[in-house]
């Protein structure tokens, strides 16, 4: 890997830790090109300067493609610098969203997003005022429930999207289950539509970083791309014009995300209609300032189940008690 790192460094990029496969190109014994694969995302592509323009990326992508198919990924995505979009366009990728000078997301399935939109159109619900909430629900707390309730009070229909990618304490299936069973207990359940994750609702935790300089850039690139996908492809199908989000005073990333949300969903010039952003103060439990999933995880880690009970809906509590991922959190403490 030292050789790969050196090549990437000469190209001004880094190696993301989640790359599971590298296609390598050698000239004699010297490494002159590489392309990485993480899940269904092509990343960490570099070609030695002297060989640029020789279309070395084409055979590299073929190797990556075969590796991807072996791993069950027939379609690929790439995140890259916008100036490199041209290279990937020639390889069959087309841009989905771009944050100028920072990042572009491309996919290689010409009908990928249309197919997702077609599946969404089966979930269309009629209403005057239609809102949306995007949550990770790791786990699903009273804070999430409050957010949904507030959105439902303000809108006729609320669409809830559960982030799909699995790099959370609870798996996607577990999080989806908690949201579904939590919503099923709410009086507003008939007006709340729960959507499973998709490749077009991006998780910040899996966003590629290799071509970005620092954390603020990563955050700006991620929010810009995720929100453009939402406004450009998802919201128009479902008629969503309002998005609800909780403010999280202790998390800088969430605070910044919420600020950027207003820009990308409302102010940025796009063909898709603007979406009004509603920021809600997080609900406070009896003796806590507010409820957040990270706080609940900290309590779980400490084994303080009785405290957890006051911060999550009964459905989530039942789930957590019956399926405590003790090993995952590495917790000892009281096991009730």
């Amino acid at each position: 890997m030292g050789e790969v790192d050196a090549l990437l460094e000469r190209a001004g990029i880094a190696r993301d830790a989640d790359v599971e496969f590298f296609a390598l190109a050698h000239l004699g014994t010297e490494l002159v090109g590489c392309m990485g694969l993480a899940g269904d995302v092509v990343k960490c592509t570099a070609v030695e300067e002297s060989l640029r323009g020789t279309n070395l990326v084409a055979p590299l992508l073929m190797e990556v493609r075969y590796a991807a198919i072996e791993r069950g990924h027939g379609r690929l995505f790439v995140y890259a610098r916008p100036k490199n979009a041209r290279v990937f366009s020639a390889l069959g990728f087309r841009p989905l969203a771009e944050v100028p000078d920072l990042a572009v997301l491309m996919e290689d399935d010409p009908r990928g997003i249309e197919r997702y939109q077609a599946s969404l159109s089966a979930m269309v619900r009629q209403g005057e005022r239609i809102g949306a909430v995007v949550i990770n629900a790791n786990p699903f707390t009273l804070g999430h429930e409050y957010l949904l309730r507030a959105a439902a009070a303000d809108c006729d229909i609320v669409h809830v999207f559960v982030v799909g990618e699995d790099r959370s304490l609870y798996t996607y299936g577990e999080r989806f289950h908690m949201v579904n069973s939590g919503v099923a207990q709410m009086p507003e359940r008939d007006r709340i539509v729960v959507h499973g994750g998709s490749r077009y609702v991006v998780s910040g935790s899996t966003f590629p970083q290799y071509f970005l300089k620092d954390a603020p850039d990563v955050s700006r690139a991620y929010t810009g791309i995720d929100l453009q996908l939402f406004r450009g492809y998802i919201a128009p199908v479902l008629g969503i014009r309002h998005r609800f989000v909780g403010t999280e005073p202790t998390s800088e990333i969430t605070a910044q995300y919420n600020a950027e949300m207003t820009y990308w969903l409302c102010d940025a010039p796009m063909a898709a209609p603007p979406i009004e952003v509603h920021e809600l103060q997080r609900v406070g439990a009896a003796d806590q300032a507010f409820v957040s999933a990270s706080k609940v995880r900290a309590l779980l880690r400490a084994g303080r189940l009785s405290d957890v009970r006051r911060l999550v809906p009964a459905t989530t509590y039942d789930f957590l008690v019956h399926k405590q991922p003790w090993d995952a959190v590495g917790a000892g403490g009281e096991r009730s």
Binding site: N55, A58, L61, G74, R75, L91, G92, D108, P110, R111
Partner: protein, 99 residues
């Protein structure tokens, strides 16, 4: 015939073509070619004919052509379909039907 799993054939080198197939409920074919102006219609026709010869009813077929000859194009489509289906292919009958 149905495409039952992801498969590819070909390359993106000049004079070749990359054909990707994937399972889908309907048959969807998308073709992009570097020789669109001169041969776009021909490329589409060869792809459609080859798929029809196999009797492909469903699947996503993505063709990225870099100026392949018709025979290359046909061979790549055949290889991708053969790799992407679990069904038996009656090669003798198929070859008998070829021009």
């Amino acid at each position: 015939m149905r495409i039952t799993h992801d498969a590819v054939a070909g390359t993106l080198e000049s004079g070749d073509v990359l054909v990707r197939v994937a399972p889908d409920e309907t048959l969807g074919v998308s073709v992009s070619t570097s020789v669109e102006a001169q041969y776009g219609d021909v490329v589409r026709k060869v792809v459609a004919t080859t798929l029809a010869e196999f009797g492909v009813e469903s699947g996503s077929v993505i063709v990225e052509d870099k100026g392949a000859l018709d025979c290359t194009l046909r061979a790549r489509v055949q290889a991708a379909v053969a790799r992407g289906t679990d069904e038996q292919i009656d090669w003798p009958a198929l070859i008998g039907r070829l021009p």
